[in-house]
């Protein structure tokens, strides 16, 4: 057969691509369960990180998660639990944050820690180059931040990427997201020397201005729909 003919070339290309396609789909199907478990474990690690729980060497994240996370559910913007909604673990935050606040599904993870029950909520926003996200653990008074975890897809190393470092995240501990008069104020991310006279703030990352502003917007946008829910937590704790 003439190897330079068009027919040979076309048949050759088609057969090659078909074989490669079959091989790749077999590999994908065979490895998928393990990959999904890895991704789920990574998410669990991030949720626990917000409540300042990190797995020690050799400790299984899945076990740690099931021993600490006591309940997880979806609330709406009125602070009521929604029955029959999506599993909070599977909520796609990238889609949720684009919806108006009163249509969102708002996941809450209740986490048992040494210093009492914490309420972990996810946050999601945009940095300079791509998405940034994280988890915020709230004290049971619904006002004070117990811990924060941030991650990013592709922020600049050494600049914006510093949001995933403890030096930035630890600043959030103990900040109040409500003003003394009860209005939602979030936490501002500000440059040195531009601290607001009132309200909670943390220091931005030098050289990472856009990412820092992204964190501030992300917190505002993602936490404000929880206002009613957090207020409800606050009234529960004062009753007790």
């Amino acid at each position: 057969m003439n190897k330079q003919s068009n027919t040979y070339t076309i048949i050759y290309a088609v057969v090659l691509v078909l074989i490669v396609g079959v091989v790749l789909s077999v590999v994908y199907q065979a490895l998928r369960p393990q990959q999904e478990e890895n991704i789920a474990n990574d998410t669990k690690r991030q949720i626990l990180a917000a409540a300042l729980i990190t797995p020690k060497d050799g400790e299984s994240v899945a076990e740690l998660y099931s021993s600490h996370i006591e309940a997880s559910y979806i609330v709406n913007s009125k602070g009521e639990k929604v029955d029959g909604a999506t599993d909070p673990f599977d909520v796609n935050m990238a889609l949720e944050v684009k919806k108006p606040a009163d249509e969102r599904e708002l996941p809450v993870f209740e986490c048992k820690t040494e210093s009492g029950l914490k309420y972990i909520v996810p946050v999601y926003g945009a940095g300079l180059w791509g998405p940034i996200w994280g988890y915020i653990a709230m004290d049971s008074n619904g006002d004070t931040i117990y811990g924060a975890y941030f991650a990013h897809q592709g922020e600049t190393p050494g600049l914006g990427a510093e949001i995933e470092k403890p030096a930035f995240q630890d600043q959030f501990e103990g900040k109040n997201i409500f003003a003394p008069d009860g209005a939602f104020q979030s936490v501002k991310v500000v440059k040195n020397g531009q601290e607001p006279s009132e309200g909670a703030y943390v220091h931005a990352i030098s050289g990472g201005t856009i990412t820092s502003q992204g964190v501030q917007k992300m917190l505002e946008n993602s936490l404000s729909p929880y206002t009613a829910y957090f207020k409800r937590l606050e009234s529960q704790t004062t009753e007790k």
């Binding site: 290309a13 490669v20 994908y28 490895l31 393990q34 990959q35 890895n38 991704i39 050494g158």
Partner: protein, 206 residues
């Protein structure tokens, strides 16, 4: 008598014909994944596996490939192997696959791979091609490991994540060199290796 000749494709790329410091191929990934030793090691294994397998596959097909689409055929084979490596890493070592992120996918565009397929696998039998793939993969890896050794040691004070410099040094005023973490330092380290290598092998000097 022919033993030396048989294994020439395996040993030559380790020094005299090294893909990174002599042929100057694959520099971009050598800069990107060498801030820490562990990703560098995984990258070495991945590139070696892809290169050896791609060499064998192309060598087996070499008499059937229509010359008008031979580059495309090479690309399809390499891309398929790279996707397999990426999927395997995601399943078995998720942390590393996150650290290497796009660089695994970019193995496809690593010049070493297409270069060896064109220059060697298309004209040689599978066994020498396999050795050539392993040799070039390791030749690439040696440089990666050397570069990442210096970058991790002086940039983070660790090796494979274990602390090397004692705490007392830091208290005495020693500081990690932040510049080592950034890509430009990799280029400088590679240049230093080339310098040392050519001083030893005078026949490589132009």
């Amino acid at each position: 008598m022919n033993l030396k000749k048989t294994f020439l494709p395996l040993f030559n790329p380790l020094s005299k014909d090294n893909p990174v410091i002599v042929q100057v191929l694959g520099i971009c990934s050598a800069l990107a994944v060498t801030a820490k030793m562990e990703p560098a090691l995984v990258m070495t294994i991945s590139v070696t596996a892809v290169l050896a397998l791609a060499n064998v596959v192309i060598s087996l097909l070499r008499n059937t490939i229509p010359s008008s689409i031979r580059i495309i055929v090479q690309l399809v084979v390499v891309a398929a192997l790279v996707v397999v490596v990426d999927q395997v890493l995601k399943a078995w070592n998720y942390e590393i696959s996150k650290a290497l992120s796009v660089f695994i996918g970019l193995i496809i565009t690593n010049c070493i791979i297409m270069g060896r397929l064109e220059a060697f696998a298309l004209n040689n039998r599978p066994w020498p091609s396999f050795l050539d793939g392993i040799g070039n993969g390791l030749g690439y890896g040696i440089i990666l490991i050397i570069v990442s050794f210096f970058r991790e040691l002086f940039g983070s004070g660790t090796l494979f994540g274990c602390q090397i410099f004692p705490e007392s040094w830091y208290e005495a005023g020693y500081m990690n060199n932040g510049m080592m973490i950034l890509p430009p330092m990799a280029l400088i380290v590679v240049a230093c290796i080339i310098w040392a290598h050519r001083s030893i092998n005078k026949d490589l000097q132009e």
